[in-house]
Amino acid sequence: MFPLAFDQGWFGGIAIKVFRRLTWGDRILILLLMLISLGSFFFLPARGKNGRVIIQAEQGIIGLYSLDSPRRVISVSGPLGSSRVEIGGGRVRMLSSPCPNQVCTKAGWIEQQGQMICCVPNQVLIRIVGDESKENESSLHLDGVTR
């Protein structure tokens, strides 16, 4: 029933005990959910580097930046105050935020396409999208340039 490593040692003992406690319903359910969870990885947009950073606030997109630009800090105002986003060297993070839980600043740096940091209290969303992604293209498309 178990792979070799699972029926030996203290961990194997616990694993078997736990497994015996599960009903057949549990086992089928967990297997199914595991397949769905793993499968959902494949439905993600392709990840890669050299993405663009999209910063959104309450009123919509407020900035589009290339990931590998020299370091800079961008201030974004939200309902609680000003959040600061740091971009540079191929990655981006929430440098500071006026939100109480600081989930966004604790998220640290992100650098992969598809990754995002979202600060729910201050309504700031930082996303990395691919250069070729449809959304990036449509947000980069310009009908004209004033000069």
């Binding site: 589009l64 930046y65 290339s66 310009l142 009908d143 004209g144 340039v145 004033t146 000069r147």
Partner: protein, 284 residues
């Protein structure tokens, strides 16, 4: 297509009348007659001169078409430019002043008071032509469109799918990049920048937006972008000359215009009504 052809004709006609390079243009004839008399002009041309006087008053002389006498000394149009002798500028400066423009509504004539004075409509003709082209398109029953005359843009109606137009604003120091973009319709967006026509002598940039008070290029800004109902390149040029502080104060005072000023250090100032509409780009 006929409507578009007509719009182009309208713009071409304004260009022909306003250009100082065409010897037979209204501008050239007014300049030749300066101090001696007035020239009868077309209705559109008369309206353009009237508008330019309006902007001169609004900007307290920061925008002034009679700067032409000084502009000529720089030879921006030859692609190389000439740094004029300070004494030459001093000599021409008294010829500058919009108060000398004589308009006669009845006979529809335009004249200059001082002999040797010259008008240069480079700062207003493009925007004016854009507005006339949009009027012409709308008269032809066109519901939506974009008219772009070398960066002076006016938009009306919606794109397919009821979408707004997205317009980029040129980065003043990175030629192939935009500093920000915004979504817009039924408005115009024009920019005056020190990067359009310029030359560099001794490490100093000499560009075509001259301060009518000094005769030298205005130094306060790198670029000024104005968003308003009709294309007002005269306004962006005037505010460029006024500089970031006075310029922004004027933008905030006038309810119908919004603007973005990039100062000489590259710092961006955005008017209150535009702040939430701009999407900053990379190069910001």
């Amino acid at each position: 297509m006929a409507a578009i052809g007509r719009a182009f004709e309208v713009m071409q006609e304004i260009e022909n009348q306003a250009s100082k390079r065409i010897p037979s243009s209204l501008t050239s004839r007014i300049n030749q007659a300066a101090g001696r008399g007035s020239i009868p002009v077309s209705a559109d041309f008369f309206e353009m001169i009237k508008k330019s006087l309006e902007y001169s008053r609004l900007t307290e002389g920061a925008f002034d078409i009679t700067i032409g006498a000084v502009t000529e000394l720089y030879h921006f149009e030859d692609g190389q430019g000439t740094l004029p002798d300070p004494s030459a500028i001093r000599q021409k400066l008294p010829l500058v002043g919009y108060q000398q423009i004589q308009l006669d509504e009845e006979r529809r004539t335009v004249g200059l008071g001082r002999p040797g004075a010259m008008i240069d409509l480079g700062g207003i003709a493009k925007g004016f032509a854009v507005n006339k082209a949009v009027e012409s398109l709308k008269e032809s029953g066109i519901k939506a469109g974009i008219v772009n005359a070398g960066g002076d843009i006016r938009l009306f109606g919606y794109k397919p799918g009821h979408k707004l137009w997205r317009i980029g604003i040129q980065h003043p120091r990175k030629p192939d990049q935009v500093i920000a973009s915004l979504e817009i319709t039924d408005q115009s967006i024009v920019t005056s920048g020190d990067y359009e026509r310029f030359f560099i002598r001794g490490g100093v940039r000499y560009h075509h937006i001259l301060d009518p008070k000094t005769g030298y290029p205005a130094r306060g800004c790198q670029s000024v972008t104005i968003v308003s109902e009709t294309a007002t390149d005269a306004m962006s040029a005037g505010i460029f000359v006024l500089g970031p502080e006075k310029g922004m104060a004027l933008i905030e005072r006038l309810p119908q215009i919004e603007g973005l000023i990039i100062d000489r250090e590259g710092k961006a100032f955005v008017s209150s009504g535009l702040r939430s509409r701009l999407v900053w780009r990379d190069s910001h």
